[in-house]
């Protein structure tokens, strides 16, 4: 079970949060065209390794968090605010 250290509420069980998926894909500008939007909405890197993802703390502060989590070990390297710049740990292997 994940325990996510919310910067506002402290360490909380995963059931308090709502997952919102990959946080690395930037929403294309209006008018960027279909291919850009198709890639944005559907394509995912889906890495085995560090993954940057959105979690909304619905049962706590209701803030949106950007969590850097390892998809195999589930280790959490960082929990950031949406506007924070990313510091991604190095992906091991290829």
């Amino acid at each position: 079970m994940l325990r996510i250290p919310c910067p506002h509420c402290g360490l909380r069980d995963e059931i308090e949060f709502r997952y919102r998926g990959d946080a690395t894909r930037a929403r294309p500008a209006a008018g960027a065209g279909l291919p850009a939007y198709t890639a944005y909405v559907f394509d995912r890197d889906n890495p085995l390794g560090w993954h940057v993802e959105w979690w909304l703390h619905v049962a706590g502060c209701r803030r949106l968090l950007k969590v850097v989590r390892h998809t195999a070990t589930h280790e959490i390297a960082a929990v950031l605010a949406p506007q924070d710049p990313l510091r991604l740990p190095p992906q091991e292997g290829s």
């Binding site: 079970m1 997952y19 998926g21 995912r44 889906n46 890495p47 998809t71 589930h74």
Partner: protein, 435 residues
């Protein structure tokens, strides 16, 4: 979309299996001679330098694709490369439910084709996979659910696929342990597909492997694919832990690892990898005779022939490659179980595990040519690809051998996302973690 076709017959009967035919007579003979005569169910050859077709992934779909290529499409120069032992991926860890009760007519036809193939599989493979058409029951608890399932059943019946509506009383007599009232979401009825049921999961992998091996396919275990070689925009083979293996066509059948393999050819897929968990209880004498799916929470259950209740719930809901079980899902699944079947309260759960699945953005699979020439994929099976193994293997073999999609799988192309032809059974949208 019209009625589903009947399964085709093999081009030529498979070559005599190297492991010999399995039969009662042989069992008796071996019993008298100390079981000395049994040999490997599938050969364990060294990889050759090149094959016409290399299939990556020795799970259900990879092995079935190889089997049908060799037995139905005359393509025998085939290798299946599996990073570990075959059959320990999702095919070896699922809740074994087979059925064809889907919403979208294209999907019904595809899964019905699969069900028809299941129905003759053991005889074709000469391997008892315990295809058990014990019936798959979906319960409903609200009128809105009833309406949706009515729509589904009517759609299935239009296509000639069996499905019938059950009253609460019918449900009770089929599954006496069900608490129709259950205090919160009473059972208002059910829909039963009698031809649905379960299949012994491991036997599916082993049976297809044995059949494919006998037909000339090389099944190469402990041979992880680590890279993809391309020349002039065309995939020409794969790098493996045991060296390079060339191929005219590389087919990915790696389930939860589809994104990683596709990335080796610079393809990004509309897929996220999520864990689905399953559980088994202690073995007890017969309790539940059909597959039961609860409609007010995440829980479905059947009883294995060994006596354990095999059951599961929903995905954890966040990307993961960890094949682990978690507590919140266990709590939710058990709470659903005790609510629907309160008699289970004192039965003990024995084991909990997980499998990593390729969840697509619309919840339907992908059987498709990928952008680089020479690369094909069978994947995106989400949590429902076990039942699809025969049809997935057959239609993928068709795509490889004929160079064009099988009509029953044409709707599963990768292009559907950009085109706006997504196959979203439940209308959930591009949120794989919510499918």
């Amino acid at each position: 979309m019209s009625e589903t076709p009947t399964p085709p017959a093999p081009m030529a009967p498979p070559e005599r299996a190297s492991s010999g035919r399995y039969s009662l007579g042989r069992l008796l003979y071996e019993g008298l001679t100390g079981q000395r005569g049994w040999t490997r169910a599938w050969a364990k050859p060294e990889p050759r330098a090149r094959y016409r077709v290399v299939i990556v992934g020795g799970g259900g779909h990879g092995l079935a694709t190889a089997y049908y290529l060799a037995t139905h499409f005359g393509v025998r120069d085939v290798a299946v490369l599996e990073r570990g032992p075959i059959g320990l991926g999702n095919v070896g860890r699922n809740t074994t439910i087979v059925r064809s009760n889907y919403f979208l007519p294209e999907n019904i036809a595809f899964y019905e084709f699969s069900l028809k193939l299941w129905e003759g599989l053991e005889q074709a493979l000469n391997f008892n996979a315990m295809v058990s058409q014990r019936g798959a029951l979906n319960l409903f608890h609200t009128e809105a659910q009833r309406d949706l399932l009515t729509r589904r059943a009517n759609q299935m019946r239009l296509l000639g696929v069996d499905n019938e509506a059950l009253s609460p009383g019918d449900v009770k007599s089929l599954v006496p342990l069900v608490d129709l009232d259950n205090g919160r979401f009473p059972v208002l009825g059910g829909f039963l597909q009698r031809r649905g049921g379960t299949v012994r999961h491991d036997a599916v992998a082993w049976g297809y492997a044995r059949g494919a091996s006998a037909a000339g396919v090389d099944i190469i275990e402990h041979c992880e694919v680590t890279g993809m070689r391309r020349e002039g925009g065309r995939v020409t083979g794969v790098e493996t832990r045991r060296g390079f293996v060339g191929a005219d066509c590389v087919c990915l059948a790696v389930a939860g690892h589809s994104s990683r393999l596709a990335a080796m050819a610079d393809v990004t897929l509309p897929i996220e990898t999520h864990v689905l968990q399953a559980f088994v209880s202690e073995a007890v004498k017969p309790l539940i005779d059909v597959v039961v799916t609860y409609g007010a929470g995440h829980f479905y259950v059947s009883q294995s022939d060994k006596g354990g209740l095999v059951f599961g719930g929903t995905i954890d809901g966040y990307n993961t490659y960890g094949q682990r079980g978690t507590l919140p899902v266990a709590e939710e699944v058990a709470a659903s179980a005790v609510t629907l079947l309160p008699a289970l309260a004192r039965l003990r759960v024995l084991r909990q595990w997980g499998g990593v699945m390729d969840m697509t953005m619309d919840g339907s699979p992908i059987i498709s040519q990928l952008p680089p020439a020479g690369l094909v994929m069978n994947g995106g099976w989400c949590y429902g690809g076990f039942k699809a193994i025969p049809a997935g293997g057959f239609t993928t073999a068709h795509l490889i051998a004929r160079g064009e999609p099988h009509p029953l799988a044409a709707h599963l192309s990768l292009a559907r996302f950009a085109a706006g032809r997504t196959m979203d059974e439940h209308g959930i949208g591009p949120f794989p973690y919510a499918h």
